[in-house]
Symmetry: none
Subunit: 235 residues, 2 copies
DNA sequence: CTGCTGCCTTACATTTCCCTTACTTTTGCC
DNA sequence: GGCAAAAGTAAGGGAAATGTAAGGCAGCAG
């Protein structure tokens, strides 16, 4: 699994020009960002930020009902997310002021889409690099980088087979994975005769990821067909 | 089931040059795309799009009776399909304008067929990657990868036999499938004596896929011959 | 009208998978 | 080599999936 989890970070764009707003939003979405939200004023931005807890904010300096700097100060009241400023002018003064407030980067309009993407990716990488991509399940999360399940703050280690099984299931999250496919994923060439063993592993995985292992909601069985890993449903 | 369902996406090509149009269409068809439609003007394109609900549109920027940008705006009135623009000029301005409208990619004429194919494949993969191929019926859809029927937004699970039956019917969608063939598909070598059981399954499937199971429109019976799965008719 | 065919429908019986658990064997590390 | 953890095995039990059977209903032929 690649570092695609950066593409799933919540991004908030704030600009008073609707055209630019949709332009930038579309550029980002096209580049694979999945959670891009927009606001066209100070007030809306604040509201959006409170509601969606962005993980990166791209703020225009000029807003109809306030300045981007003021907005950043307000944001800092409840979030430490990185910030990239957009400004029409290229003045040193703005730059200094922005960085002084803890901005992470700065772009002067008009800018090239490519450069914006590059800078956003850089900020996200910098900010969230040490994080491992977590797979969110209903009552728990899986950290494949550490081979751990996190439940109620507890870190529960995964064994080799459990890891292999969960990987295979995760690669096809939501889809049915047949017993055969799972056995092949775990035992390779000669996957026959391990069906029972597979069941034992499924049970052990359930004890780690499920709140109630006997009534699984994340790793569900589809009788006669296989198993399915259900990711946390997002609202 | 492979990812070949991307090759079955409905593609609409719009260009005023007939030669180029057929050339590109043939390139696509030769690469395995099965549903490529063409239009040579703004008006025709709009009509085609309304009729066929394309899943990817390739639009020339210059059209005799309007611009590709204008066309995209109209398309956005009823579809969110991805769009690739073709343009004679390579100007940044056009590029920005296209992306601003939500275009997904952009190619400058003359282009290499290989590159076009590559970009189209990339867009389709990106847009539809997490989707499973869905079989569209009249009041519902079947997701074989998840063994589910989707009706009114509800996800209704399929059992193993139901899955096998629907697969067999789907493989011969629109054609009559005999009782014998269905029994063989489900019970293999020794398919005799299960006719009654088959009926029970048919009934249970109908309860899942049909709006009114007693008056089926998707899984219809052909008295004395067998059953038939009717796909959603596309206007 | 009567009986017949072919399928529908429903409720119920049966079976098949899978779960669960405890136990044995294997692996890998000290 | 010894020990703990991981992996594999086996058997009894249970619930959901499947199979069965009987009563209907519609259409059709005589």
């Amino acid at each position: 699994m690649s570092a695609d989890y950066l593409k799933q970070k919540r991004i908030l764009l704030v600009d008073d020009e609707p055209d630019l707003l949709t332009l930038v939003a579309n550029i980002l979405r096209q580049d694979g960002y999945t959670d891009v939200r927009t606001a066209d004023s100070f007030a809306n931005a604040l509201h959006q930020a409170e509601v969606s807890a962005p993980e990166l904010a791209v703020l225009d300096v000029m807003l109809p009902d306030g300045s981007g700097f003021g907005l950043l100060k307000r944001l800092r009241g409840f979030t430490d997310c990185p910030v990239l400023f957009l400004t029409a002018r290229g003045e040193e003064e703005d730059r200094i002021r922005g960085f002084g407030l803890g901005a992470d980067d700065y772009m002067v309009k008009p800018f090239s889409p490519r450069e914006l993407l590059y800078r956003i990716a850089a900020i996200l990488r910098r900010t969230y690099r040490s994080e491992d991509p977590l797979v969110e399940l209903d009552g728990s999360r899986i950290d494949f980088a550490r081979a751990e399940v996190i439940r109620d703050g507890e870190q529960i280690p995964l064994t080799a087979k459990e890891f292999a099984l969960l990987s295979a299931l995760c690669r096809n999250a939501g889809r049915i994975v047949t017993i055969d496919a799972l056995c092949t994923a775990v035992w390779g060439d000669n996957p026959y005769g391990y069906e029972n063993s597979l069941m034992a592993h499924i049970r052990r995985i359930r004890e780690k990821i499920e709140t109630d292992p006997s009534h699984p909601v994340s790793l569900v069985t589809v009788k006669g067909l296989g198993y399915k890993l259900i990711l946390k449903s997002r609202k």
